[in-house]
Symmetry: C2
Subunit: 430 residues, 2 copies
């Protein structure tokens, strides 16, 4: 499904202009909540700028006429109460935390889009049938404490207070202590776990260059890739670079070099959506005139099909083991991270596809190679994830950028979907 952006009717143009000014207004304002004076946005979980941002957002939600509540871990909800109070809510949003020196769109865009969409829908159409909620999830990045998806994970029951007991940040502050300092923690507010969510919709920047390179406005995510992360250690023999003839060497770095070249070749051969990355590599002793005796490197492999991902990892293990043996190197594998692929909701995606067609918005289906809050909701309730383009695919950087019009088109699609789910009669997930 790829098509050109059609000419917009005048009304759509006016709406996009308004959405553009609203959503960029919220994003610019939110980006002011950042630690220190350095470039980009740094808003770590339970930090001062994080708390100020959540409180500021609560104020904006209240002024927009939403019922505003925090849960016990600091997730913030703004609710537009529906006329049928006992049916599950339609929830949209993303995370408020950032990486260190991140951009102003990652996470924040999903919250801003939800806030603007709900404000528009309420102003234009009044009370919905089903309740609509925007959520500012407290944490997704894992940047302050070594645990990610704390916000969405608590909502769906995949995170718990037992998991954080021993976790500390770089300054040695405990996870629970930091939470308490912001006024949150077990029993401080309503429980985070929710069983009354009828659908979760997340809008997010792509963080990759596919939409931009294909000139498309919207990515409808079919599946969030599964991930395997493996640490590989090669041990050879450190030797004098001048006195050890080539045939007497056990050079761990040369072995690693060939491995990572073959890894790329094989990933290309197997084809998208498989990606495989050696991002980190360390050499020992790492001295110009010593043959490297040891190398450690990481492999990050992702695919939306877990079976194909496992097959690739198994190829890797066999091939690398053979290469190591040929060179007299010992090799050890440590798969320290494993996350299954999460398919998103086909019926919701069909609605998104229809909306884009009706609105003349150029879109495509695509996988998400990055993890998102949507993957936590994916096993819990019908979930959709919507991408807008990222300039040059850059993310987790002050350089992160999506144009105001691209942001507005994403909000427009969200508005249409929320209208469809919240205001129109009919089955929720047909």
């Amino acid at each position: 499904m790829e098509q050109e952006v059609l000419s917009h009717p005048q009304e759509q143009e006016r709406l996009l202009d308004w959405l553009e000014s609203e959503v960029t207004g919220v994003l610019d304002w939110l980006s002011g909540y950042s630690e220190g004076e350095s470039a980009g946005v740094t808003r770590l979980l339970y930090s001062k700028p994080w708390l100020a941002a959540q409180q500021g957002l609560a104020g904006r939600m209240t002024r927009a006429g939403l019922e505003t509540t925090f849960d016990e871990v600091g997730n913030l909800y703004g609710k537009l109460q529906g006329r049928q109070p006992d049916v599950p809510s339609i929830v949209t949003g993303s995370h408020i935390d950032t990486v260190i020196q991140g951009g102003k769109y990652d996470g924040a865009y999903g919250i801003a889009a939800g806030l603007v969409a709900l404000a528009y829908l309420q102003k234009r159409y009044g009370k919905p049938l089903r309740s609509l909620e925007v959520v500012s999830l407290c944490e997704e990045e894992g940047s302050r404490f070594p645990l990610a998806y704390w916000g969405s994970g608590n909502v769906v029951g995949k995170r718990s207070h037992e998991q954080i007991v021993t976790l500390v940040d770089q300054e040695g502050m405990g996870f629970g202590e930091a939470m308490k300092a912001c006024g949150f923690g077990a029993g401080s507010a309503r429980p985070a776990l929710r069983r009354d969510i009828g659908a979760f919709i997340e809008t997010h920047i792509e963080q990759g260059g596919v939409l931009e390179s294909e000139g498309l406005a919207i990515g409808i995510v079919d599946s969030i890739a599964g991930q395997r992360r493996v640490r590989i250690e090669l041990v050879g023999e450190a030797n004098h670079a001048g006195t050890t003839p080539m045939h007497l060497r056990k050079d761990a770095l040369e072995g690693a070099g060939l491995m990572l070249h073959l890894l790329r070749q094989e990933a290309i051969r197997r084809g998208a959506p498989l990606v495989a990355t050696v991002g980190k590599l360390q050499v020992s002793p790492n001295v110009p005139n010593v043959v490297p005796g040891g190398v450690q490197f990481t492999v990050d492999a992702r695919h939306t099909d877990d079976a194909q991902l496992d097959s690739f990892c198994s190829w890797m293990r066999t091939t690398f083991t053979e290469l190591a043996e040929q060179r007299g190197l010992s090799i050890a594998f440590d798969e320290w991270f494993r996350e299954g692929a999460v398919p998103l909701h086909a019926a919701l995606n069909s609605r998104l596809e229809r909306i884009c067609q009706e609105q003349g918005i150029a879109a495509r289906h695509m996988p998400s190679g990055a993890g998102h809050d949507a993957q936590m909701f994916g096993g819990h309730c019908p979930t959709a994830l919507l991408f807008v383009p990222s300039k040059r695919g850059i993310s987790h950087s002050p350089e992160e950028y999506t144009s105001p019009r691209e942001l507005a088109i994403g909000v427009l699609v969200l508005v249409e979907l929320l209208y469809n789910l919240g205001y129109e009669e009919g089955e929720l997930h047909a």
Copy 2:
């Protein structure tokens, strides 16, 4: 020239027993002069243990009946005056300094061998025709200050006080200041430069595994390899490991991996004595889930033939540039170190070869991939360099080891050569 060790006549056996006990005695004693309590030997230029070792050696030289003098940079000579005082001296020795946590043989062996050889020759044959000298050169490793061959370089006029003006050690102490603290420096003693050396003979451990792997006792070095050291920088594009499809990547590390694999292949194809090593490699940003945007690595290439070495480096430049272009990477080369090959003296080597044959000692001709004081003397006077085996090729480590018998065989060959040059009539270098 490879042959088995023949049975030694009884006299040779007795002599070897004596040389073994003498040379290991000196080496064990010398290894006691070391900084701190850590493993191995640490004797940095102009440090306290360095000064104590030189003073201790001066005492031993004097007691062995040698005329003992320091020069102005701290090189220590012990001279067995010849009957023909105006003909050039035959000098043997090596360096007294070590790397940090080095072994007890590197450098020290050449001094101990010279001291034992001169003591034996004097005791056995009395005054030689030509003067024989043993030298404990003050510095070779470049481990304290970023300048190597300070000892031999001053003797042959390739080092000067102008070169050290701005040099400081890791604690910020100046080179000249450290020298002065030990009582040395310009004008403190006789000038270091010498024009009265008729031949220089260095005995040294191989620091490689060739002699051991071939079961040989002596390596006669034909040439010290020339060296080229090049820093290579690749710049690609750092990207998200999950969201950047393989075909949109500019992965600097994958490019480097293939380069260093091909470098080894080509070095093997071109054959010994060429060696090429990527010893140091650094990745940026070096994070598991980011496609590497930059890589810096070093290439250390050595060959005894400068033309062949240049040809290899030129192949490397062309091949790496092509590979980088194919991948959309930029590449920069910086050759920061270049040293020509130094051929050693053919006539001296013929004498060594004859001595080994006569003594039934298994020997071979070989290149030296490592640098040695002999390469400074090589352009100054007829020079020979003699290797004894290194266990598992290990050097610059507390694990450095050569057996007492192997050490003694090296001293025996040195004794024979010094006798030949110092006591026998005839042309010095025919």
